[in-house]
């Protein structure tokens, strides 16, 4: 649409179009005054319509093109905030699609005398608004995905508690399936705690891990190596017989790592590393008297 009349039409009737758009929006139930102030909505409409006009004047109707950057930014921002505010996809899309009606009305009254032109202009306008609508939905979904991803991350952090067993001894009971993303976060939060708690020994307890494949074993090994680089010893405990078998079958070399079958055994090793021991009270008292 190289010589479209649309930008010119928008320029001449901007205020009127905005008023009509606002009306269409409330008719479509897309205003949601509980979530958003009317003046904020009006400002968004004015911003968007203005930049659509500028984009049309500058660079045709390819909304992925250079001239449409501002419009894309605006729509992305609008969809993102709406996704966060809890607008439904329909309400978000209606925001853009509601612009159709006022535009069509305008076109109709402008080109009433020329039906061929009217059809042509209506068609190009509808494709344009459709594209903008689809872009909005796409950004909306992206924003939602982003929210989901962040929640997943938060959940991951919650699902891997680092516990302090004694001064200088930390334990990380791992429960459930370990994948790369989770191991990554586990490793980071564990090593961060190692620094803040100035830890001598860390126990990775995998009693609650159902299966260990090559990748998981390598991840564990990487955590142990990273801890060693920082100056802390790592013990892996809770290795069940079938997991020991898989580890050997997979050919993963854990010879450089201290492994214990139970958390209790690992704790004993950790205590002896710290030059500590657990004794029965009676024995201790007898020892003190002797």
């Amino acid at each position: 649409m190289p010589d479209s009349r649309l930008p010119d039409l928008i320029a001449r009737h901007e205020a009127d179009l905005l008023a009509q758009w606002a009306k269409a929006l409330s008719a479509a139930g897309a205003t949601r005054e509980d979530l958003m102030k009317p003046e904020e909505l009006r400002a968004q409409c004015a911003d968007l319509l203005g930049s659509v006009r500028q984009a049309l004047q500058r660079g045709g109707n390819d909304i992925t093109g250079q001239g449409w950057e501002k419009v894309r930014e605006l729509l992305t921002e609008i969809s993102r905030t709406r996704a966060q505010q809890g607008f439904t996809p329909t309400a978000t899309a209606s925001f853009v699609f509601s612009l159709k009606e006022p535009l069509f009305q305008r076109l109709r009254s402008e080109h009433a005398a020329n039906p061929a032109l009217l059809v042509e202009e209506t068609w190009s306008t509808t494709t344009l608004v459709d594209k903008l609508g689809l872009f909005t939905i796409e950004s909306y979904i992206k924003a939602r995905e982003d929210i989901i991803r962040r929640q997943q991350e938060a959940m991951l952090e919650l699902s891997t508690p680092v516990v302090k067993l004694w001064d200088g001894i930390l334990a990380l009971p791992l429960i459930g399936t370990l994948d790369s993303a989770r191991t990554q976060i586990v490793m980071e939060s564990l090593l961060q705690r190692v620094v803040t708690e100035s830890t001598d020994v860390v126990i990775l307890d995998i009693t609650g891990v159902p299966t260990v494949d090559t990748l998981v074993a390598q991840h564990l090994l990487k955590t142990v190596t990273a801890a060693r680089l920082m100056g802390t010893d790592c013990i892996i405990s809770g290795i069940r017989p079938q997991i020991a078998q898989t580890i050997v079958h997979l050919g993963v070399d854990l010879t450089s790592v201290i492994t214990k079958s139970s958390l209790a055994d690992a704790f004993k090793v950790a205590l002896s590393r710290r030059d500590l021991m657990v004794v029965k009270r009676k024995a201790a008292a007898a020892g003190a008297q002797a």
Binding site: V194, V195, S198, K222, T225, A226, R228, L229, M230, G231
Partner: protein, 135 residues
Amino acid sequence: MERIPILQMGQFLIVTIQVDMHDRLALTLQDDLTSRISATNAKGVLIDISALEIVDSFIGRMLANISGMARILDAQTVVTGMQPAVAITLVELGLSLPGIKTALNVERGMQLLRAALGDRQADPEQDDVDAPVEA
């Protein structure tokens, strides 16, 4: 010329690396340290890297070299304070620096060096009498 200062404390040499080192600076440190070890007859070297935001293969190799050369000159080396992000990155890079002794912080590093020294000679009174001396 730009240099990383080396401090002497009794039988130990202490270095804290606080700048993003370019390669030549790292090599200079390697040279300086080895000559200081033999000049002072130091028995331990502590390198604190807690301020380093990255350790790439070049700096990693320098640390391994220093440790190896010091060993030949009869001194133990301990690298202290490596940041978690740096450790994770080094492991991913494939550099686990197997020959290097590490400790969480300078205090633990000194304990480690003293313990290693105590194992070898029964005269623990020799160290920590001198105040730090600028190299």
